[in-house]
């Protein structure tokens, strides 16, 4: 029997976060869904509570905890009832800012990471474009030097927090790829969103994650200073591949947590709902499906915990993380679909929270590298 990776202190943190999520976030989930917007106060409030920098060192305002504290947060946030919240916060804490801590200068850490940890600055990550997503080499957003500055032109698509972000951690081409290194010529930049030429072209309408703002961004001659370059010029591909590991892992943890919540709801509902004279959970057909859901969740949870353990120990576990991402994305949608089915007509109704979770869960198979891309990564690493 595997022992829990969580210490007593992690469990106390979990209790505090769960209370915050239940008391302060959950009451707003429905209104945020209707408005297509999470209230801005969520960032500074979570910053005040220390939740935007659990694993960030104390010198940048963080809590200095290990990765398991981050896991606790990612497991608890879905309990607010809106998948948009863990996504928006996950972008802030585990997608847009870790590259600053890993590759940034001290000045960049103080100027971007520290205020992001406080929730004073909202962060976004800019990788995808209208004609390039997982194929990072194909990006066309281009920066050219102008004295000590850079001028950026291009477009970024599917940008979570895109309407409200103060800065975007952005993947930009700074040179053509060299013939002997097809991954070269790409760099990372920290781009302030209030610069002239930075424009939110439109807010995207989506099937799920509706409370989260997703933008198409146009960059038209955006002049950034030389110190907006993050990490080493031309090494952006390697840097963003590292970033994607954290992004996929946090997504997988959230997927398992969302599935767990769906399962708990299905369990409660089928125990209560009666048909033909007894609770439907007492029918073997229902019971076995609940068992399959629980088993499905537990398998993926253990796979994800193993990858978290590797990540926490500093191992660069690309294969395992791709497997987690693939398994969790598929499982969480499968479980959400079963939960909807077990809720019958109520499951399809907007009056129950199941349909929202079902719509939200669908994203994971597409975002952060689709199922197909994860399979391609794994095949490559298997030497196929």
């Amino acid at each position: 029997m595997r022992t829990s990776p969580f210490t007593e202190e992690h469990e106390q943190l979990r209790a505090a976060i769960r209370r915050f999520v239940t008391d302060e976030l959950a009451p707003h989930a429905e209104a945020w869904e209707q408005a297509g917007w999470i209230d801005d106060w969520v960032w500074p409030r979570m910053g005040e509570l220390g939740y935007l920098g659990l694993a960030v060192p104390a010198e940048y305002g963080g809590q200095g905890a290990d990765y398991w504290a981050t896991v606790v947060l990612a497991e608890e946030l879905p309990r607010c009832g809106s998948g948009s919240v863990p996504m928006a916060i996950g972008v802030q804490t585990d997608m847009a800012t870790p590259p600053i801590l890993k590759f940034g200068t001290e000045e960049q850490k103080q100027a971007y990471l520290a205020p992001a940890v406080k929730g004073e600055k909202i962060a976004a990550i800019g990788i995808s474009e209208p004609e390039a997503g997982s194929d990072v080499r194909a990006i066309r957003t281009r920066a050219r030097r102008d004295g000590r500055d850079w001028i950026i032109d291009g477009a970024k698509l599917y940008i979570t927090n895109g309407l409200r972000a103060d800065f975007v951690t952005m993947v930009v081409r700074t040179a053509a790829a060299e013939s002997d290194d097809p991954w070269s010529g790409i760099s990372l930049f920290l781009v302030d969103t209030d610069l002239p030429g930075f424009e939110v072209a439109r807010k995207l309408d989506k099937v799920g994650m509706r409370a989260s703002d997703t933008a198409l961004i146009h960059l038209d001659g955006v002049r950034v200073p030389g110190d907006a370059l993050l990490g080493v010029e031309g090494h952006g591909f390697k840097q963003i591949m590292w970033q994607l590991q954290g992004e996929r892992l946090i997504g997988a943890i959230g997927g398992v947590a969302a599935a767990q919540l769906m399962f708990e709801r299905a369990l409660a509902y089928t125990r209560e709902r009666e048909a033909f004279g007894r609770p439907i959970a007492r029918f073997q057909a229902t019971r076995h499906r609940l068992v399959d859901m629980a088993t499905d969740i537990e398998q993926v949870r253990q796979l994800v915990y193993d990858a978290c353990d590797r990540w926490n120990r500093g191992e660069y576990a690309v294969t395992e993380i791709a497997m987690c991402k693939l398994a969790a994305a598929q499982m969480s949608f499968r479980v959400a679909d079963e939960a909807l089915q077990l809720h019958g007509g109520y499951g399809y109704s907007r009056e129950f929270p199941v349909e929202r979770a079902w719509r939200d869960a669908r994203l994971a198979r597409v975002g952060g590298g689709s199922d197909e891309v994860q399979r391609e990564i794994i095949s490559k690493l298997l030497g196929l």
Binding site: E8, E9, Q12, L13, A16, I17, R19, F20, L49, G50, L54, A58, Q63, G64, A65, A69
Partner: protein
């Protein structure tokens, strides 16, 4: 300024609290123990006194060694140190016995102000804070919904059925607070981690000079003779609205009868 915040370990307030028929006390092995929810408000007052006046705040808990996680939990909110009185002789104490132990423990410590919760979530007697003040011969400001310290006096708003009174007392004093007094914060991860290394002193009854005969089941002034489970909730009255307005009348009659209006 030195402040003491006494806290209590209680059975999980959400769960059933079965009574052990042998000693007529709550069967603690069958329920999970938690920090008394009322203490979150007294601890928050302690933290605020620390922030505002630089007070040094110590947690005091009377309870067995197994209650130590509760002490750590209380410390995780940002308090400085803890004293735990642990002694088998305390088992079965009533409110007066508990007050005797706390009063003696307080005599062995330095303090200007003691901030209690007004009642514990399990026994709910509301007796202990005033009894402790009486035993120590210091003023007590109970049921405070507002508290401030101004120089060498404590000022409180004492809650009652018709509103509140503004009361004050010179320090040292004992205060008990009600839940309306503040909005408790959550412990931070830093606080949770720091709680592990904060000083905790464990004392026995002998250490604080308590006569064992005056506390515990043997020293109890109150005796429980019998207990029975709470009767099941009676079914409510359902008023059907047939559109004639009779339902509204029925409802109004019922509310008048129950003195709601």
């Amino acid at each position: 300024m030195k402040v003491i915040v006494p806290v209590k370990r209680v059975p999980d307030t959400a769960g059933d609290k079965p009574i052990d028929p042998n000693d007529r006390t709550v069967d603690r092995d069958s329920v999970e123990s938690v920090l008394c929810p009322v203490n979150e408000f007294s601890i928050e007052e302690g933290v605020r006194l620390k922030e505002k006046h630089g007070a040094e705040v110590t947690v005091l808990l009377v309870g067995p060694d197994s209650a130590q996680p509760i002490v750590r939990k209380a410390l995780s909110y940002g308090l400085d140190a803890a004293v735990q009185v642990s002694d088998e002789g305390i088992a079965g104490s009533d409110a007066l016995g508990t007050a005797r132990v706390i009063a003696k423990a307080l005599e062995s410590m330095e303090w200007d102000l003691v901030v209690f919760g007004n009642q514990s979530a399990d026994a709910r007697t509301c007796l202990v804070p005033a009894a402790v003040a009486e035993l120590l011969g210091v003023p007590s400001l109970t049921f405070a919904r507002y508290l401030e310290v101004d120089g060498d006096k404590a000022i409180a708003h004492r809650e009652h059925e018709e509103g509140w009174d503004v009361v004050e007392a010179p320090l040292p004093a004992v205060v008990s607070v009600v839940e309306a007094i503040n909005d408790p914060r959550y412990p931070s991860f830093k606080g949770i981690m720091a709680a592990k290394s904060k000083p905790l002193t464990v004392k026995s009854l002998a250490d604080i000079g308590v006569d064992p005969a005056s506390v515990g089941a043997g020293g109890a002034a109150a005796t429980m003779y019998a207990f029975e489970p709470r009767p099941p909730k009676a079914a409510g009255t359902v008023v059907e609205d047939d559109g004639s307005g009779a339902a509204a009348e029925q409802l109004a009659d019922w509310m008048t009868e129950k003195k709601f209006v």
